[in-house]
Subunit: 270 residues, 2 copies
């Protein structure tokens, strides 16, 4: 008898875009009562990958996006011993098995030491506000509609106060379970093009709902309900009740994630 | 006894935008077998108007858009004796009763001689092709994805051959029931911005599925399957089998309708 050759394992990094509207978020989960598996982006991507490689895989995603949240550049990794498939062939085969609202943008072979969660250096999110009198008929699930005129200069003043290393407990949904609530926000910018007002945030990591609470607070500043200076007191309070409302999931996009030793994946129009 | 004053009737013209994805087209209709009323844009708009004015109305729409087809500027009219509501108050009240994917853009009092169908002078449609390698994750129901490189110059050559007064029977779905199949196409243009390739057509009126068949044919020309000159023979044949495939409903937008004595309603981003 000849010893079977040891299968060589290869780790792949995936960059994934999706419209979160029809899914219960990224993370695989069961219904509380019925135990039926709910439709999630992770479950669909994992099933597509397994169908291509022909064996069970673990698909580890960098960010657990909530129900209704979109992504232009989610990052995930998995291991396979099917190393003979060229990365772009793998990408096309997986995409052929995914619905119209989920797309694997790239498949890259990486070292087995690469880890989608542990190696995260920076993440960028965008929050899209549709700031016009009329609601966005064609984008009702892709933006948050606020008709009130918004003052971008005031919002930028408030945004600048959030940049830096702070305790973000006032901007986190209670029950996040993190003992350390200090995070670094590298950038927080507000831009407008026609009715589209975009709040962009880049940080080392975010607590639960932080981007949606930051966005909800900046919107309150923009429409004049909160002065920009109030941000300082909110941060100092560490109390969720001092910050603004949580903006809805439909306006939130995970734009890109940068990993150790790598530039972030480009995120163009998808 | 005093004679009751004769109620004065007022006709209103509505300009309506909608995302057709979740509807069985514009026109109110029942399911073939169950007789259950299907969700249509006309039925929802009519119910919203009736709820505001407090009496039954007929809502007459200019174009019967098919299931899945979108509109930026559908036109409809109705009569009411509730003449004391200011037009913009009426607009806001109706919009408050409509779902997120239907919007009344304007409400204008018009003469009772105005008729949404009979007074149509010109209509403009747009067909949106998402021409890029990757599918449009965020716009899967708002554009038709073709990854093949498309030659815009060839498409323009073909489009120019369609402009003018022709018998469009080769570009109509059989069973349209019109005895006169001669129509005038005032313009047919092809423009590109990034992955978005737009075919715009403006005409006196269109036969059933004509814009989708014109678009499907121009796409075949763009990807090199059909020479631009073939358009001439298609028109001459009057035979549907000679033209290209019917492009899917998801890429089609009714952009505006011009009525006698009126400029077309503007159709910006909605």
């Amino acid at each position: 008898m000849t010893a079977a050759p040891t299968p060589t394992s290869q780790r792949y990094k995936l960059v994934i875009a999706y419209r979160g509207t029809h899914y219960h978020g990224w993370q695989t989960q069961e219904h509380d009562v019925t135990r039926v598996q709910l439709p999630t982006i992770q479950a669909l991507c994992r099933a597509a990958v397994m169908d291509v490689v022909g064996h069970p895989v673990d698909l580890c995603g960098s960010s657990r996006t909530d129900s209704g949240v979109h992504a232009k550049g989610q990052v995930a990794h998995f291991d396979t011993h099917m190393t003979q498939i060229p990365p772009d062939g793998l990408r096309r085969a997986v995409n052929a098995r995914l619905p119209a609202d989920i797309l694997v943008r790239s498949v890259t072979p990486v070292a087995t030491t690469f880890h989608a969660i542990r190696d995260t250096v920076r993440k960028r999110y965008q929050y899209l506000v549709w700031n016009a009198a009329d609601k966005p008929v064609f984008h009702s699930d892709l933006a948050f509609h606020r008709w009130q005129p918004m003052d971008v200069a005031r919002m930028r003043d408030a945004a600048a106060r959030l940049v830096g290393t702070h305790d973000f407990n006032a901007f986190a949904k209670p029950g996040h379970g993190r003992s350390n609530t200090v995070r670094t926000l590298y950038a927080c910018d507000v831009t407008r093009r026609g009715p589209r007002l975009v709040i962009g945030v880049c940080g080392s990591g975010f607590l639960w709902n932080t981007v949606r609470i930051l966005s909800g607070t900046l919107i309150e500043v923009g429409i004049g309900r909160t002065p920009p200076e109030a941000i300082d007191a909110m941060l100092a309070s560490r109390d969720r009740r001092t910050a603004g409302p949580t903006a809805p999931a439909c306006g939130l996009y995970l734009q890109w994630i940068e990993h150790q030793g790598e530039a972030p994946a480009a995120s163009g129009a998808a």
